[in-house]
Amino acid sequence: MAEVQAEVEAYARGLSHVRDGVRAYGLVVRMWVRSTMAYRVSFVMMTVGNFAATALDFVAIAFMFSHIDALGGFTLPEVAFLYGTTSVSFGLADLVLGNLDRVGRRVRDGTMDTLLTRPAPVLAQVAADQFALRRLGRVTQGGLLLGWSLARLDVAWTPVTVLLVPVMLVAGAVIFGALFVAGAAFQFRAVDAAEVQNAFTYGGTTLLQYPPSVFARDLVRGVTFVVPLAFVNWLPALRVLGRDDPLGLPGWVDFTSPLVALVCWVLAGLAWRVGLRGYRSTGS
């Protein structure tokens, strides 16, 4: 009986920890948005810039398609579908958690300590640090392109595939979010290595813009079983587009993105706890 009670209490503590975190995140984000609005012109320019940066990215793909009809067997609307889904997922994760790449800097300049003296979870405070609304630019660009591709795609929609689109966008954002958290945890160990996570986050979304048939089999295996980027959009998108996945996985795997996302978050959360505990015992 006592054990059950302890379990329940631990669970309740965990829940209230999450609730505190979300609340603190909201409070700090509001402050950053207000700070940003102190430089309105700059904000507008940066948002447009963020939109343009990602748009140029797609212009390069469009240029490719000015010479070819299909890349890796995928047409332009199909590639745009991949591009749009990963951009929206990555854009949302980047908007909400993108500033976690500043953990290393905060450890180096000592401002991490200030966060530890406040009555709120540190992860929430760091994640909200320097919150930049301009990152909506990427989400917007991805969303527009996704809309365009949906209008142009020639696929037989079923209720299941229709539902799969929003599910994959959210699950994808959660998977990218977990990568940001894991990257932040790694920075406790390697303060100057913020760029490593770019390989997985920015690199990941670049990878997922293209069809899996383009890449070597081993690379596809790696991003399916090691760093499960394939669950962001490849596997569910192949189902939507009515194509086989190059690894020949069973069909139900296409629907497991939410589960994979959950597992990623649990692991990333653990990594964060280990990282923070390490910081609190070494102070550097």
Binding site: A24, R34, Y39, G110, D113, L116, T117, P119, R280
Partner: protein, 318 residues
């Protein structure tokens, strides 16, 4: 006795890795804090001093729950800081002198609004506290000014107020007067005396400025090489460290080292400028008079002993 801060045999050991070649690294252990124990009763204001790297800030970091101690027992307001960091945070206030927690681009008032929400300070309590801080720290006209436009002294006052809005029982101040002009220093000290007397707040203060300690604290603790080497009144510290003040004189031209001034000796000569050390318990007047009588004096100034010196001498004495 109601001891708000309790430390018993607290240690903090770091593993430091140092590059010893192109790829080879050496590991060795550093005892930043090496078995410290003390108690601070509620309402006391204590100076906690020591040279850089003595273990001062490591202690403060353990007391605020930032760092986990390697050994020993530590309680602040009955809470184990490293285990219950968030709960402790509501009951302590922290001011790091060189690191503002205020929001650079927003009016001062907005930073306080965030404190209110994050610490869940009840409305009435918040208004009363803010009003009191504004009055004592003279913040009235600054509340609606963006923080980036404040001077260093104004910002420090703003930071101290931010640390007090949630009624902390313990206040940690790390170099609260560093870089401030004389007027701002005086204002900050006066305020700290007031809140300490008025609310019975326990204050732990680290500083390089002995005047802070002289004017605020009856009790001083000195840490060096991770150990507490002194715990007592300020007078005792002066006596133990035989601290000295320095008279700096600019003469009309170069002279050999000044001689024949009772109680003072020349410690440095640089062209026409000479440094004379004399006991801190002595008055400067007779020394100045003795020099002026026999040498053509252009300018002079008196330097107060600083803590590093006092401690260095404590050690020289053994």
């Amino acid at each position: 006795m109601d001891d708000l801060i309790v430390l018993e045999g607290v240690e903090k050991v770091f593993d430091v890795r140092r590059r010893a070649g192109f790829l080879r690294r050496e590991r060795h252990r550093v005892r930043a804090v090496d078995g410290i124990g003390f108690r601070v009763p509620r309402g006391e204001m204590v100076g906690y001093i020591g040279p850089n790297g003595a273990g001062k800030s490591t202690t403060i970091k353990m007391l605020t729950g930032i760092l986990t101690p390697s050994a020993g027992r530590l309680r602040v307001a009955g809470i184990d800081p490293s285990r219950d960091r968030s709960r402790l945070a509501r009951r302590i206030g922290v001011v790091f002198g060189q690191r503002t927690t205020l929001w650079w681009d927003l009016p001062l008032r907005d930073s306080y609004g965030l404190v209110r929400r994050m610490y869940r300070v009840p409305d009435a309590r918040y208004r009363a506290n803010l009003e009191r801080c504004v009055e004592l720290l003279d913040l009235g006209e600054l509340l609606d000014v963006p923080v980036r436009q404040l001077s260093l002294g104004q910002r420090m006052r703003g930071d101290i107020a931010a640390a007090l809005l949630h009624d902390p029982e313990v206040l940690y101040l790390d170099e609260p007067t560093i870089g401030l002009d004389v007027a701002s220093k005086a204002k900050v000290r006066e305020f700290l005396r007031d809140v300490n007397a008025e609310r019975g707040m326990t204050v732990l203060l680290t500083t390089h400025d002995l005047t802070d300690i002289e004017q605020l604290c009856k009790r001083v603790m000195v840490i060096d090489h991770g150990r507490l080497v002194y715990d007592g009144g300020l007078d005792g510290l002066h006596a133990k460290g035989e601290s000295e003040r320095t008279l700096v004189v600019d003469l009309e031209r170069e002279f050999p080292p000044i001689t024949g001034v009772p109680g003072a000796r020349v410690v440095r000569v640089e062209g026409p400028r000479q440094w004379l050390a004399f006991a801190a318990t002595h008055s400067a007047a007779p020394v100045v008079a003795a020099v002026a009588e026999r040498y053509p004096l252009v300018d002079l100034s008196v330097r107060e002993p600083d803590i590093e010196q006092v401690i260095a001498r404590m050690y020289a004495e053994g």
